[in-house]
Structure formats: structure tokens, C-alpha cells
């Protein structure tokens, strides 16, 4: 029995708390921790992981009367610290131990108390550990640290935050000497990597294998009534069927957590459910909502005031949100790890089965089925760790200089190399970095007889404290439609950086748009019909579908095509739907699978079907695009999904095949293509921020990123950007594998004409879920017309100057007249132009006008000239956004035969204004 190893005091407390039986992780984990071993505990959420780590350590601190600070508890989520404190303070109090929280939001006063009277146990974040390590007094206290617990280590390890933490722990080790390390992790794909990351002698304790998941895939088919509802809700019948299924599931359970892959889908689902049934208590939860709003819905859900929450990854980990009896995944979760994590949020209590349902359909069904099968076998994705990230290292090296005043390159190298992600770091790399930091004037570097000595300087502090956090802060752009002149949604900075040039098309709020102009905060767009070449704006939110999963989907397609479905656990309804799709496709084209690639031609699109996953297709796509644009001398439009590469270009399908078959240096071509891409520039910006090259509050309008990038070519900053892009966005290894298979004939590539079923799905399917039925041109036009007629203008009599009135355009008479002097010389100007009347009066009284006033008067006069000739038509035109008398005269001179035609011309002039206004300034 695990509990019997504890001191009598703690045993008494355990009884008092009512813990009778230790859970599995407690049973096998606690003795190891008492023995002082470095331990990685892998257990599902809700199995009392925190207690496994804390109780034995508390007991040891209590028994040995360790000096504070004896233990650090590092948790990546600041919002969780309070929860944790509440949970642990009871034990600590009874054992006479002090416990406190420290992170960015903790008040100065509290920090001062901690500095003078440090607690035994400190709950903190990686960033704050970075901050306190440089404090003289806190460092004194940190000398006593004997135990470090790292919570949610599986989350940290894949990001740069984790890399930072690995270095921070080595810095701490310089101060405190060796300490016991405990890692707490959810189920992961490569436990050994996580263990190595923690330390080289880490013992892995797996207590998650007994956890049961019940995951089903459902593919609801539309019934006849769904088609009627679909029209009301402005969604497709298939989506309606899924929505109805979701509705039924929510109603037949107590508390249902629904996960979607994008914020946009979450919003659409919630709003349509509301239209479906206003009484159903549900709401959305995602990263773009305010913190207050999120906390409110979490609490209401926990108290069961809400029956359902529709969330994105924002609710994947973290706070306890009560007992959930069902998790619904809406459409394929794209990765097994994610499905396990999400499903694990239900049946939270020990021994309970976690129940999850994937609602899927059409092509998505293949992916959902494969992922469900893999989840039941617990075949999780491997973890990717950033190796030798130079930007994170830069800040930590400067941190070491601050801590030590002066430090030799040898010592820095020795400390750094102990951290797992830097185990292969070479001495010359650290020297290059040190020289670069000195060039950036972040440290002093002196060359002595015994090697280099790095010393802190004034700028070191600013830089270090500006870069405590490695998380990039991302801005949002407002999308403004020039038709309605209203905001229609938001775009992430990363998306704008990558796809935000004028002329590019993207999908947001259920429609396709073309970018007209981008400024510092806004993106101006007009609607287009051409959805095929548009890129979904939520692309950045989608996690990549891994190579292995896409390959298995290829195998699944092949076995369905061959008529024998072995080893796949799918319902007969799902099997039926999938084989229907394959049958339809195979009537005209060969079925692309893991050993057959299909290239098809449609309009100016070339679609290459390749079941290789998001990253390989992105890599391969960029490679092909680079070579094609070299060949044709023109830009190539590229769009990818896990199963297709879609290229818009003047090249031929045979050119693509030729590229696939020919053996060329893919590394160099890609490096060259990537370093010119806007993706690279955007990532460079973030890396440059972490290097302190670009300060966090720089005015983006005033810097020229291209110039900066070219100045830093071949520096650690440039190389780090390339490395990051290749790790996050590319999969070179598997791409080479695919190309080799093609060259050896193991994968056959065929060219066929015409658009296949699977090809068409690629061009439009990804939008289906959120597409409203197309808004007809007419509708757009009506919206514009309504807006124009609603616009309020100021009418001024230029003859007497006594008449000035603000009116909506629709209320203006056909031939406006001055009620005072009956003159028809009425000017229509902006309603905000208040002093116009004074200028007119001054002119009438023959007073001297300043140059400025004269200019204004002429504009007013010209406006009146137009109104006297064209009547209301002139007023309507002048009400257009950005249309002055000059443009209006040009528009009106066309003498449109109908009013409709006039409105069209005004719309055109407005667009022209939006497009060119930047140059007019």
C-alpha cells in the first residue's frame, strides 16, 4: 500500500480527507517519488496526478524540515494556479508548510513578501521562473530547491516554451545543485522523448493503459425534412443532418462538450442550434472571445446552467469543468492525440469510461474512421521537439550573463548542453551565437587567453525582461467589405502576412472575398463568386493531418475499392457511404490511394491527389510550385489539403508529372522558395522579436521587413527562422520518401482529364460546412443600394446660404430646392462638414476667403453645379463612399439609361476609391 510509506501525520490526513484506496498512478508513482527518483507519470486527467507528485514531496519536506524554497511546481497555465493552490493549501496547512503562487499577475506587495519570507512550495510558470532567477534575493532562496514538478509537460515540450523551460532548469541546477524532477503528462505518443526531455535518468510510470475510451463514428444522413430545415438555416442538407444528430445527442445526455476544429465552425454550429431550438442552453467557447466571457461560460457549464458548450481547442486542457457524460467531436479531429485528449474530458472520474462520438460524413468519414481506429489501439502521434532553437537560447544566454556578471563561453556551453534539446549543440554554434549577440549589442564579448568571456551590459536587462515569454503575440485584422462598408469578420496576423496581398481570395463568414487593400488594422475586401481558388481563413487554426494517417486513408480507399474492408472498425452505414463515394469517383477516374497518385486537369487547375498528409503535401506543393513558376515565368497559386495539391497555373499536368519523376535537389529549391515566401517573413518577424532585433511595440507601418530580412541573412536569426519553418510546416523526410517511391515505380502516377468527384471535393468541400448558399450578385447589389440610400448627406443652398439640412438620400426630392429662396443651387456634401455653411455665407457677403476656404468653397460650388443639372441622381452619386464632385461628374456624364446602371457605376467608383486611396494620401 502506497499510503503506508508516509509519515504518520500525513497518513492521518489522508484518512481525514477520506482517501481509502490509492488510485493506480498513486500506487505505483508515490513509492518511486519517496525514493527520490526522477519520474515521469503518464496518467489520464482526473486520476489525481497532482497528489501523486505532491503528497510524497510534502511529506519529505515536512520530515526533513527542508528550508524554503524547497519545491517548485511549474504549471504552464497561469489561470490554473489558483485552482491548484486551493487544492494543495489544505495539505500544506496541516503539515505546517507555506505555499504560494507567483506569476505575472501577482501583486508587487505579495512578491515582496515572498522575497522576505519565501514559501516552502512555490507554484509558478516557466516565464516567472526566468524572471526570479535573475533576482539576487530570490536566487538566494532558490538555492534550497530540492524538488521540481512540471505539470502538463506534454503540452510544453512541443512548443518553444518547453525548450525555454529545459534551459531554465539547467540554470536552476547551477544555483541549487541537483534536484528531483517529476513530470506529469497526459497520454502521449512518444513517452521516451518526454522522459529524456525531463532528465537522463527518468523513470517512466505509465498509469494510463487501463483508461477506457468508447469512441464511435456517426454519419447521419439527411432526411426529407432536413432539406426544408436546411433552407431556413441557410446551410446544406448534410450539415443539417449532422446538426440534428448533435441536437439529439445533447438532449439525450446530461452535459455535453462539443469540439470543433475551427472557431468559425463553432460559431456557425451554435447560431444554427439556436435557430433550431431557442430553449436549448448552449454557447460557444474559443480563443477569440474575451477572458470574462470564457470564464463565465465555463462556470455556467460547470454548474449545469448550460447543457452544452461548443468549443475549440481552448477547452482541451485546463480547468475542471464538471462532470461531462459525452464529448462530441464535430468532423474529424485530424490527429489521434487530439481525439484522446478531447474524449478524456468526459468520464473524468477514476475508472469511468470516457465516451466520445465523432459526427462525420462524406469525405471526412474516411479520416474520422481511421482516427477512431487508431485511438482505440492508442496509436498516438510522435512528439516533435524543437532542436537547438537559437532564439530561445539567445535569451537564456543573456540571462546567464545577467546572473553571473561575467561568464566564459566554456561554462555557458557546459550548462546549455545538459538540456535535452541542445544535447547535440556544437561549440562553434554557441560561439557564433555569442558573437551575434555581441553584434546586436545585447552583451559584451571579450576575447581572452582562455577563450571568450561574455559580460552583461545595460541593454541585457531590457532585452531579457522583454523576452521572458516565447509566445508570439498575434494581432487581429478587421475585415471590411467595401459593399456594405461594414466589418464582416477578423483575420489573424499570420494569415494576413501569408495571404494578405491585394487580389488574393479567401473565405470568411461563409463567403469568398477578394482583397482590395490592406492597411495597419484593416483588410478591405469585395465579395467574389469564385470559391474554387479561395483559401479558408481558418487555415492556420487547423492542425496538420499526419503522414501516417493520410497513408492509412489511402489504404482504406484501396480496400473499399477492392471490396474487402478488413481491420477497419466502421459501422455498416459508414461503410455504405464511403463505398458510394468511391464508386462514384471510380466511374470516371482511377481511385488515388497510398500507391496511386492521380493528376487531373480542370480549367486552369491541376489537381495532384496524394494521400500524404498536410505537411508532406505542403512541402511537395511548394516544391512543385517553385519549379513551375520558374518554368512558366509566372506566379503559381497553390492550395493544399491532406489528400490533394491544387495548383492554379498555366503549366500542364505533364509538367507536374515530370517534376515528380525527375531527380532534383529538393533541399536547395525548397530553401530558396521558402526564404522568399511571406510565411518565412512572418516567422522571421517573430524570431527577430525574440532576438530583440525588433522591439515588441514597434510601429509596423514604419519598418520595411524586406530590408531587415536581407540585412540578417546567414545570421543565427535567419537560420533559426528556416529551421522553425521546416520543423513546423514541412516534412522533408517523408516527402523525399514519397518522391523516391515514385521514381522507383512503387507509387504510380497517372494523368486523367476532367474533374473527378474527389477532385471537386478538394476544390469546394472544405468550405461546405460554413458556406451559406451563394449570395447572389443581386443581393450584394441590393445591400449596397440600401446603404447608399440610407446615407445621410448635408444639403446647403449656395444661393442664399441660409439653408443647411442633414437628410437621408432616399428622402431627397427629385430636384431639390431651397425652401427659403427657391433656388435650385443646392450642394450635397458630407454631413460632418459643418463649417461649410459659414464658408458659403462668407462668400455671399463677399468677404475675403483664405486659400483653404476657397478650396472648400469650390468643392461645394461644384457639388451644387452637379445637383442643379442632374437633380437627385447627383445627390445619390455624391453620397458614395469616397466620391467627390470630380468623380461624381465623371460618373454622371455617362448619362446612365436606368437607375440600376447608375448604381452600378457608383459601386465601381467606390471600389476604385478603396483600391487607390492609399496613394491619394
Amino acid at each position: 500500500m502506497a499510503f503506508e510509506l508516509f509519515s504518520p501525520e500525513l497518513q492521518k490526513l489522508i484518512k481525514e480527507k477520506g482517501f481509502l484506496e490509492p488510485t493506480l498512478p498513486q500506487k505505483i508513482g508515490m513509492p518511486e517519488i519517496l525514493n527520490g527518483k526522477d519520474v515521469l507519470i503518464i496518467a489520464p486527467t482526473g486520476s489525481g496526478k497532482t497528489e501523486v507528485a505532491c503528497l510524497p514531496l510534502f511529506d519529505k519536506i515536512h520530515k526533513n524540515k527542508d528550508k524554503p524554497i524547497s519545491m517548485l511546481y511549474i504549471n504552464p497555465l497561469r489561470s490554473l494556479s489558483r485552482d491548484l493552490l486551493d487544492r494543495l493549501v489544505w495539505w500544506a496547512d496541516k503539515l505546517d508548510l507555506d505555499i504560494a503562487v507567483r506569476h505575472g499577475d501577482v501583486s508587487q506587495k505579495e512578491r515582496a513578501i515572498q522575497r522576505e519570507m519565501p514559501p516552502h512550495i512555490l507554484i509558478t510558470t516557466p516565464e516567472t521562473l526566468g524572471a526570479i532567477l535573475t533576482g539576487k534575493k530570490m536566487r538566494e532562496h532558490l538555492k534550497n530547491v530540492k524538488y521540481v514538478v512540471i505539470d502538463e509537460i506534454h503540452e510544453l515540450i512541443t512548443s518553444k516554451r518547453g525548450i525555454q523551460l529545459s534551459l531554465l532548469l539547467e540554470r536552476l541546477r547551477e544555483v541549487a545543485g541537483d534536484f528531483q524532477r517529476i513530470g506529469l503528462s497526459a497520454t502521449v505518443g512518444s513517452p521516451q522523448t518526454v522522459a529524456d526531455f525531463l532528465g537522463d535518468k527518468t523513470k517512466i510510470i505509465r498509469a494510463e493503459l487501463e483508461k477506457k475510451y468508447d469512441i464511435r463514428v456517426e454519419n447521419p444522413k439527411p432526411k426529407s425534412k432536413d432539406r426544408i430545415i436546411a433552407d431556413d438555416l441557410a446551410i446544406g442538407p448534410e450539415t443539417t443532418a449532422r446538426l440534428r444528430k448533435l441536437y439529439e445527442l445533447i438532449n439525450s445526455h446530461k452535459s455535453v462538450l462539443v469540439f470543433t476544429n475551427t472557431r468559425e465552425t463553432a460559431e456557425v454550429l451554435s447560431s444554427r442550434l439556436r435557430q433550431f431550438d431557442r430553449e436549448l442552453k448552449q454557447t460557444v467557447h474559443h480563443g477569440s472571445l474575451s477572458k470574462e466571457k470564457r470564464i463565465k461560460s465555463e462556470q455556467e457549464f460547470k454548474k449545469e446552467l448550460l447543457k452544452s458548450l461548443i468549443a475549440t481547442s481552448s477547452l482541451e486542457l485546463g480547468i475542471d469543468i464538471g462532470s461531462i457524460d459525452l464529448v462530441v467531436q464535430y468532423l474529424s479531429p485530424r490527429q489521434v492525440t487530439r481525439l484522446i485528449q478531447r474524449t478524456g474530458r468526459s468520464g473524468h472520474r477514476v475508472g469511468e469510461v470516457s465516451k466520445g462520438i465523432i459526427i462525420s460524413g462524406e469525405e471526412d468519414l474516411f479520416e474520422a474512421s481511421v482516427i477512431a481506429r487508431r485511438a482505440s489501439k492508442k496509436e498516438l502521434e510522435e512528439i516533435k521537439v524543437h532542436e537547438k532553437a537559437m532564439d530561445v537560447l539567445a535569451a537564456q544566454v543573456v540571462g546567464l550573463c545577467i546572473e553571473n556578471y561575467e561568464i566564459s563561453d566554456e561554462k555557458i556551453y557546459r550548462i546549455i548542453k545538459r538540456a535535452y534539446p541542445y544535447r547535440d549543440l556544437e561549440k562553434k554554434e554557441i560561439i557564433k551565437l555569442l558573437k551575434f549577440l555581441s553584434d546586436l549589442r545585447l552583451i559584451y564579448l571579450n576575447e581572452g587567453p582562455a577563450g571568450l568571456k561574455a559580460r552583461r551590459r545595460l541593454r541585457s536587462w531590457n532585452y531579457y525582461f522583454d523576452n521572458l515569454s516565447t509566445i508570439p503575440d498575434s494581432r487581429q485584422y478587421k475585415v471590411i467589405s467595401v459593399i456594405e462598408n461594414e466589418p464582416i469578420g477578423n483575420l489573424d496576423e499570420g494569415f494576413v502576412a501569408e495571404h494578405g496581398s491585394p487580389g488574393e481570395k479567401f473565405v470568411v463568414s461563409g463567403r469568398a472575398w477578394r482583397i482590395i487593400q490592406v492597411d495597419a488594422q484593416k483588410v478591405f475586401v469585395e465579395p467574389v463568386e469564385d470559391i474554387e481558388s479561395a483559401i479558408p481563413a481558418w487555415e492556420g487554426e487547423l492542425i496538420p493531418v499526419p503522414f501516417e494517417i493520410a497513408q492509412e486513408i489511402g489504404r482504406l480507399r484501396r480496400s473499399i475499392n477492392n471490396g474487402k474492408l478488413e481491420g477497419f472498425n466502421v459501422s455498416s452505414a459508414a461503410e455504405e457511404e464511403m463505398s458510394q463515394l468511391i464508386k462514384k469517383h471510380s466511374s470516371s477516374h482511377i481511385v488515388p490511394d497510398d500507391v496511386h497518385f492521380l493528376i487531373e486537369n480542370y480549367k486552369d487547375f491541376i489537381i495532384l491527389h496524394s494521400c500524404s498528409g498536410s505537411l508532406v503535401n505542403d512541402t511537395l506543393g511548394r516544391y512543385i510550385a517553385a519549379l513551375l513558376s520558374e518554368k512558366t515565368g509566372m506566379a503559381v497559386n497553390l492550395k493544399i489539403d491532406p489528400y490533394r495539391i491544387m495548383i492554379q497555373s498555366s503549366a500542364k499536368a505533364s509538367d507536374v508529372k515530370e517534376i515528380l519523376v525527375k531527380d532534383e535537389n529538393i533541399d536547395e529549391t525548397l530553401k530558396e522558395a521558402i526564404s522568399r515566401s511571406s510565411l518565412f517573413k512572418y516567422r522571421f518577424l517573430q524570431v527577430a522579436r525574440r532576438f530583440g532585433i525588433i522591439s515588441r511595440n514597434v510601429d509596423y507601418d514604419r519598418i520595411n521587413l524586406n530590408k531587415i530580412v536581407s540585412q540578417y541573412e546567414n545570421t543565427p536569426c535567419y537560420e533559426e527562422t528556416l529551421r522553425e519553418v521546416f520543423l513546423d510546416k514541412m516534412d522533408l523526410r517523408n516527402t523525399k520518401l514519397i518522391l523516391e517511391k515514385i521514381r522507383k515505380g512503387k507509387i504510380k502516377v497517372e494523368i486523367q482529364e476532367g474533374l473527378s468527384i474527389l477532385g471537386e471535393l478538394g476544390l469546394v468541400h472544405q468550405f461546405k460546412e460554413i458556406m451559406k448558399p451563394r449570395m447572389p450578385e443581386k443581393e450584394i447589389f441590393l445591400t449596397f443600394k440600401r446603404r447608399l440610400l440610407r446615407t445621410r448627406v448635408r444639403l446647403i443652398c449656395v444661393n442664399c446660404g441660409d439653408y443647411s439640412l442633414v437628410k437621408a438620400v432616399r428622402e431627397v426630392e427629385e430636384q431639390p430646392e431651397c425652401p427659403k429662396c427657391t433656388s435650385r443651387l443646392i450642394a450635397a456634401i458630407s454631413k460632418r462638414n459643418v463649417d461649410a455653411v459659414n464658408i458659403v455665407k462668407k462668400k455671399i457677403k463677399k468677404k475675403e476667403l483664405t486659400e483653404e476656404e476657397m478650396k472648400k468653397f469650390l468643392t461645394i460650388r461644384r457639388s451644387a453645379d452637379l445637383v442643379i443639372v442632374y437633380g437627385k441622381k447627383a445627390v445619390v452619386t455624391l453620397a458614395g463612399h469616397g466620391i467627390g464632385p470630380q468623380t461624381a461628374a465623371y460618373v454622371l456624364a455617362k448619362m446612365q439609361p436606368t437607375k440600376e446602371k447608375l448604381f452600378q457605376d457608383i459601386l465601381h467608383a467606390e471600389k476604385e476609391f478603396a483600391r487607390t486611396k492609399k496613394y491619394w494620401k
Binding site: D439, L440, R441, S501, P502, G503, Q517, G692, I693, I694, S695, N697, V698, D699, R702, I703, K707, I708, S710, Q711, Y712, T715, R915, T916, Y919
Partner: protein, 245 residues
């Protein structure tokens, strides 16, 4: 390598160095607007840049080799920060001057060059001459921030001329360029800046050129050349609103 050679009446040898913002007149190599301390100003704006010094010195020596010139004219704005001299300039400018391998250096004063006299190391007093303007044959070399009375052709800096191209989709590209304008049958040549980090003035947009000298140039009969020698035509034909929109 394409080289433009001009023989004028007074038998002056003059050539533009292809691919670089530099020209040679007789034995002199002429470059302009180095703005050596500009990284300090950029840093204050929030962007940290490596020092440009070594890069600039290397490329000057490269051009020296190509052109075969023995003497150097720095056509103003060699330093950047005004009114005070930054610490960086205090260190870099003497270093810069002493690392240049020329027989003599003429330092024409620009509007950013206040007190540059104090930055010339004693050992270089004989080699470096400071002038307001400088004459080679029928060319007068000056920075261009002050008016000059002359009957000669003028070579000047101060403007950082660049040309802007706008493509069909509205994407904009900016390239440094030479401007050769006319005033009273004499030429006025605007030399592009030598430092890539400097701001640009766009020649094919509305407004006049900078400074009392260049102001006299009419955009109607001023020619534009790219650094590689491409002749683009008269500025009036290249105005922003004439193409792309």
C-alpha cells in the same frame, strides 16, 4: 559589364559604375549619403540592425577596383545623427575614414554633417579635405541642401531618389535610381544613396525634388536610370497615376 561613358566638351571623363550607386569623374570616385549612424536612429524606433560599417567599406573598395579611381568624394551626409553626434558615430567615423584606401578623400559637407571636422583623426588631416562644394572640369559637386551659383553641371546627393513600380494587383516595388535633370541647358545629376537602410524619396510621385538646387529640375524633362543602366524614360511618363491604376 555595361559602362556608360560620356565625353563632354571640356574633355572630362565620366562613367556610372554599373550596378552600384556610384560614379567616376576623372580620377574621382563619387558616392553619396552614407548616413553611417542610421542604425542608432532605427534602434530608437525599435529595430536593431548590425553596424553597416564593414559592409560599406568592403563595397567601396570593390567599386574602387572596378572603376580604377584613386581618389574619393563623399558627397555629403556621411554621418547621420543631428544635432548631436552619437557615441556610435564618434567611434565609427574615424575608424571608417582610416580604413579607406584612397590617395585622398574629399568630404563634401551635407546637412547631417555638422561638426564632422572634429571626427577626423589627426593622422588623416592631410588626406581628408572638407569642402562645401568641389569642382572637377565642368562639373560642380555639392550635397544640394544649399543653393549654389554656378554655370556648370551639378552632381548632388541629398535626395535618395527611388522609383516605384506598381503591378496590376497593387503590389509595390521600390528601386534606387539615377535622375538626370536639366536646368538652363545644364545637367543636374542626382546620386542615389549608398546606404540601403536610408529612407527613400519616390521620384515618380507628385511634388518637387528636395533642396534649393534640385527643386529647379522639372519632372517633365528629367530622365531616370536604374543602377544597372536601364533607361526608363522621362519621369512624367512614369508618374504613379499613369500606370497600374
Amino acid at each position: 559589364m555595361l559602362i556608360l561613358v560620356k565625353w563632354t566638351v571640356a574633355w572630362v571623363f565620366m562613367m556610372f559604375i554599373t550596378g552600384y550607386p556610384a560614379l567616376r569623374i576623372n580620377d574621382y570616385l563619387i558616392i553619396s549619403d552614407l548616413h553611417l549612424g542610421i542604425t542608432r536612429e532605427l534602434y530608437k524606433k525599435g529595430v536593431s540592425m548590425p553596424s553597416q560599417l564593414s559592409k560599406i567599406i568592403d563595397s567601396i573598395h570593390k567599386i574602387k577596383k572596378i572603376s580604377g579611381a584613386k581618389k574619393l568624394v563623399l558627397l555629403g551626409d556621411t554621418k547621420h545623427n543631428i544635432p548631436s553626434i552619437s557615441y556610435q558615430e564618434l567611434k565609427e567615423i574615424p575608424d571608417f575614414l582610416s580604413r579607406l584606401r584612397f590617395d585622398s578623400i574629399i568630404l563634401v559637407k551635407g546637412n547631417h554633417d555638422g561638426n564632422i571636422e572634429n571626427l577626423i583623426p589627426a593622422s588623416l588631416r592631410d588626406k581628408v579635405k572638407i569642402k562645401k562644394s568641389f569642382v572637377i572640369g565642368d562639373y560642380l559637386l555639392t550635397h544640394g541642401h544649399r543653393n549654389v551659383k554656378t554655370e556648370k553641371n551639378i552632381v548632388m546627393g541629398h535626395n535618395h531618389p527611388h522609383i516605384r513600380f506598381i503591378d496590376k494587383l497593387g503590389a509595390r516595388y521600390i528601386e534606387p535610381c539615377w535622375v538626370i535633370g536639366k536646368y538652363k541647358r545644364k545637367k543636374i545629376i542626382l546620386v542615389p544613396t549608398f546606404n540601403e537602410l536610408c529612407g527613400a524619396s519616390i521620384v515618380n510621385s507628385k511634388g518637387k525634388f528636395l533642396g534649393p538646387v534640385a527643386k529647379k529640375i522639372s519632372k517633365r524633362n528629367a530622365k531616370v536610370f536604374l543602377l544597372d543602366g536601364t533607361y526608363l524614360g522621362y519621369i512624367k511618363e512614369l508618374m504613379d497615376d499613369k500606370h497600374g491604376v
